[in-house]
């Protein structure tokens, strides 16, 4: 079967997943249809309600990229301090890394050759 991918230990069939997904969508649609019928688009019903407070403008409401995952970056601050250090933007540094990695690889291959 062209749909079934054998991974050596298990199998993967995207069709099963798609069928399950469709069934779930049908169930969701069924519940949605049982919801309130009185909803009217483009009326006050569709406006944002913040407990009576004034709703900020769109650009002030939008959570910008710099505010997302703040806790993640704060927790990993030390890691990021270290990992950002080689990203200098200077091409000379980039080539130095190349020289260093090549030298280490040559040494490892030569030592491994001696051991062999």
């Amino acid at each position: 079967m062209t749909f079934i991918l054998e991974s050596g230990y298990a199998f993967w069939n995207p069709l099963i997943w798609i069928i399950v997904f469709i069934i779930v969508m049908v169930i969701v649609y069924f519940f949605r249809r049982r919801g309130q019928k009185g909803y009217k688009k483009d009326t006050d019903q569709a406006q944002i309600f913040l407990c009576g407070e004034e709703v900020p403008e769109a650009e002030q409401r939008h959570i910008r990229v710099g505010n997302i995952y703040w806790g993640f970056f704060e927790t990993l601050k030390e890691y990021y301090d270290q990992i950002l250090r080689p990203h200098t933007g200077i091409i000379n540094d980039y080539i130095l890394w190349f020289v260093a990695v090549t030298a280490i690889s040559v040494i490892v291959l030569l030592i491994a050759g001696l051991a062999k």
Partner: protein, 522 residues
């Protein structure tokens, strides 16, 4: 038709090359005719590549000797070794060729609108077609020196394309960094080729593979080749130039540059498995590749989460995804000498890594194209300035979601198919490889969700009231790649049986590659 297939390896290289130079006079006469020439020539190349792939699946390795009375006459009369330029296309080469042909066509289609307001468009298409020529050459050549020539063609045209939008200072810096890195890498490759030629008086990969002794000079040449190519693919810690250059190129070119990185990765695999396959200290080199692959996955994704520039964000993800391929194929290399382990999980790990090349070649250019679509109308790559774009750019949003789900390995998208092959096989080699892979996948999804929310979600921002969906040709370029994703999603087994396993077997079966050229069993 038979003659066309016989000559297809050279035609696939020559047609874009001829079209590259024809775009100049035709472009001076008519813009539409130039565009038709670019798209027509690349469409014909796609046809030729698939015809050649079919031929290879039936008849095995396809040889093409330039200048010989017959294309399969690899060793001239009176000679003991091949001396002519030989194109040798096996399962792995044609697999790369299929990817390159489709992405090139999608990128050229996307470019029709994407660079329509730029000056010097004819030069853009000339360079694009030259890059296509270089890429095919790298994939099809059976000769080390020709590989060097083709990588130079691809690199020089790539650097010029990165710098194409000369009104931006960062494009000039990105192009400069790319050409410096490429020149250093090419120089080291040439030096390594010189070391091998000095010892064996050979340049043909098959003939060299038969003669190679794994001397000290061979080991130095191996390290030079491997690390130079690894730098071109953006392997950590040699990835530092990658986001600087890839993020500033026109999005269509960034999509193609990703595939040139794949081509360099292919070359590294070809060198490890085919050129050195019989003599290499496989566990040591395999472990080197695996360690650098793990670093590439993890550092790439953690740097990506941190980014606020949409194209740098995607560039770091490209780095991260390349790590999966290194790890998958690295495991295959590490157990190359052990037939039992190779058949138990090594071949599956390699297949997973190679399958991931195919999947990455579709979703990553697609994501770069969506990034280019955002830049096309907002005029910024800064995610902090974006928001609410899904209201106006519905097609781009849907295509971004497809790419995001695919790169994050969310079932049932194609990224999941290759990742599960990698996870299940490399787990047997060492569980830490699978654990790292899963963590990287989670971080990938988290970072793409962050970028999606920043750019597409939220209320419509007043500064983007006038934004509209990108032109049709850009949508078509993205849809070509999304269609590929859907196809591989639905028929993973068909793709694996028809393209992935033959590619993995082509790398493992060093004897077949050598035998095709030399006519002797090594």
């Amino acid at each position: 038709m038979a003659a066309l297939i016989t000559h297809s390896p050279i035609l696939i290289i020559a047609i874009p090359l001829a079209a590259a130079f024809l775009t100049i006079p035709i472009g001076m006469a008519s813009r539409k005719a130039r565009n038709a020439l670019v798209i027509g020539s690349l469409t014909f190349v796609v046809f030729l590549v698939f015809a050649l792939a079919r031929d290879i699946s039936i008849n095995g390795i396809h040889l093409y000797t330039l200048g010989a009375t017959s294309p399969d006459l690899t060793i001239p009369t009176g000679f003991m070794v091949p001396v002519r330029i030989i194109l040798e296309v096996d399962g792995m080469s044609i697999f790369m060729g299929i990817i390159w042909s489709i992405v090139s066509l999608a990128a050229a289609t996307y470019s029709l609108s994407h660079i329509s307001s730029e000056t010097g468009q004819t030069r853009f298409y000339t360079l694009l077609l030259l890059m296509v020529t270089g890429g095919f050459g790298m994939m099809f050549t059976g000769d080390l020196f020709n590989f060097f020539v083709f990588i130079e063609i691809a690199s020089i045209s790539g650097a010029a394309l990165i710098s194409f939008r000369t009104r931006f200072a960062d494009t000039q810096e990105g192009g400069f960094k790319y050409i410096v890195v490429s020149a250093i890498a090419s120089l080291m490759i040439l030096f390594a080729i010189g070391l091998l030629y000095a010892q064996y008086n050979l340049l043909n990969i098959g003939a060299l593979a038969q003669a190679i002794q794994y001397t000290t000079l061979d080991k130095i040449a191996l390290a030079l080749l491997l690390i130079a190519l690894a730098m071109k693919t953006g392997m950590v810690p040699l990835h530092l130039w990658f986001p600087d250059s890839y993020s500033v190129a026109p999005a269509s070119i960034t999509g193609m540059l990703v595939i040139t990185s794949h081509a360099c990765m292919y070359a590294a695999f070809r060198i490890c498995f085919t050129l050195y396959g019989g003599v290499i200290n496989a566990p040591v080199v395999g472990w080197i590749i695996i360690i650098f692959g793990l670093l590439t996955m993890f550092v790439g994704v953690t740097m990506a989460v941190f980014q606020k520039d949409v194209m740098r964000f995607m560039s770091y993800h490209a780095v991260s995804q390349l790590g999966y391929m290194w790890v998958g194929v690295g495991v295959g290399l590490a157990v190359l000498g052990n037939t039992e382990l190779l058949s138990t999980y090594g071949r599956d790990a390699m297949s997973g890594g190679i399958f991931h090349i195919l999947n990455h070649a579709m979703y990553k250019p697609l994501l770069f194209f969506t990034g280019g679509a955002l830049f096309h109308y907002t005029g910024t790559r800064d995610l902090t300035k974006m928001g609410g774009l899904a209201h106006k750019m519905k097609w781009t949003t849907i295509l971004y979601i497809i790419g995001t789900l695919s790169i994050s390995g969310i079932p049932p998208l194609n990224g999941f198919s290759s990742k599960i092959l990698i996870y299940e096989s490399v787990y047997q080699f060492h569980p830490i490889l699978t654990i790292t892979g899963i963590i990287v996948s989670i971080l990938t999804l988290a970072s793409f969700t962050k970028a999606f929310h920043s750019a597409f979600m939220g209320a419509e921002l007043p500064e983007y009231k006038e934004v509209k969906e990108v032109p049709k040709s850009m949508i078509i370029g993205m849809v070509i790649l999304a269609a590929g994703i859907v196809f591989v999603t639905l028929f993973p087994s068909l793709v694996v049986d028809w393209a992935i396993h033959p590619a993995a077997d082509a790398l493992i079966d060093q004897g077949a590659y050598i035998n095709a050229v030399t006519g002797a069993i090594p």
